[in-house]
Amino acid sequence: MAKVLVVTSGKGGVGKTTSTAALGAALAQMGQRVVVIDFDVGLRNLDLVLGAERRVVFDLINVVQGVAKLQQALIRDKRLENLWLLPASQTRDKDALTDEGIGRIIAELRPRFDWILCDSPAGIERGAMLAMRYADEAVIVTNPEVSSVRDSDRIIGMLDSKTVKAERGECVKKHILIARYDAGRASRGEMLGIEDILEILATPLLGIIPESQDVLRASNVGSPVTLHNADSAPARAYVDAVNRLMGETIAMTVPTERKGFMSRLLGRRAA
């Protein structure tokens, strides 16, 4: 039976979709059967980051409304045979998503996969609520920046009260994933440090994704960063995070770029 994991943040632009794609791909690369669901109705992007944008026929709302079968809407990744995508609708109204409909889809997917990753839209409206509704675990993507930390705190409060697990008196297992981290700026006191964020949010850390141009390069070509450049700092950070999700204990480090001789000589920022 699959674990349902929501990737959420409250704030937009912190790296939810990038992280969903990278975590999903890394899990699939380890042999896990993974489906990623885009809950961002009207602003879908997970298809684009995964390079499946031209293969979308049916979407989440089509399935909720019974227009398409789940099997017809699922898109299999061309590179990773264990990775599947259920895209969001680009045209429909987000009110077409219903609690009951999502519950039915999750129940249908559970026996077929090991992981169901729900990519939440920004905000705290219906799409975000439904993305976390059936979650067993949550990855809260946070940037080292005041507005992001505040919104993460709000989302943690919602995970503890508005989910099916919370209503049953159980607890959604929560993890903080710090993205866009710049170790240099943090050490100069220009950016909130890891310790600061963890102390404020009082939630365990899943991983630290360094700020890196590799993330942009990967999304440019529609490939999860763990697949596009497995040796890059963010890819290694996502792989570490996934191993921790699988229950392994891995020392927490911020992977750094492996600088070439020339860039070291020229002192260029190899971010």
Binding site: E145, V146, V149, R150, D153, R154, G157, S161, A186, S187, R188, G189, E190, M191, L192, G193, D196, I200
Partner: protein, 91 residues
Amino acid sequence: MNLLRLINGRKATAPVARERLQILLAHERGLRGQSDLLELLRAEILAAVQRHVDIDQDKIVIRMERGPQVSTLEVDIEVPNGAHKSFAAAG
């Protein structure tokens, strides 16, 4: 690093961010699932005054300051002379 900071005169801003967040979130967490005490006081104080005096809404200044230990609520109401409501008329 500290030397660099001395040279360009910039102060570390992260500690400020941390402190601001701690104060704000302590307050916001307290709000979840219950009404805000300061908001409640503000509403009830205004209602109490309005029962006796006609107040121009523009003449009310309310300031709130949330701190880690103590928060303050400052309600400044301008009461014109002769604004006392007649209880006889009100019945």
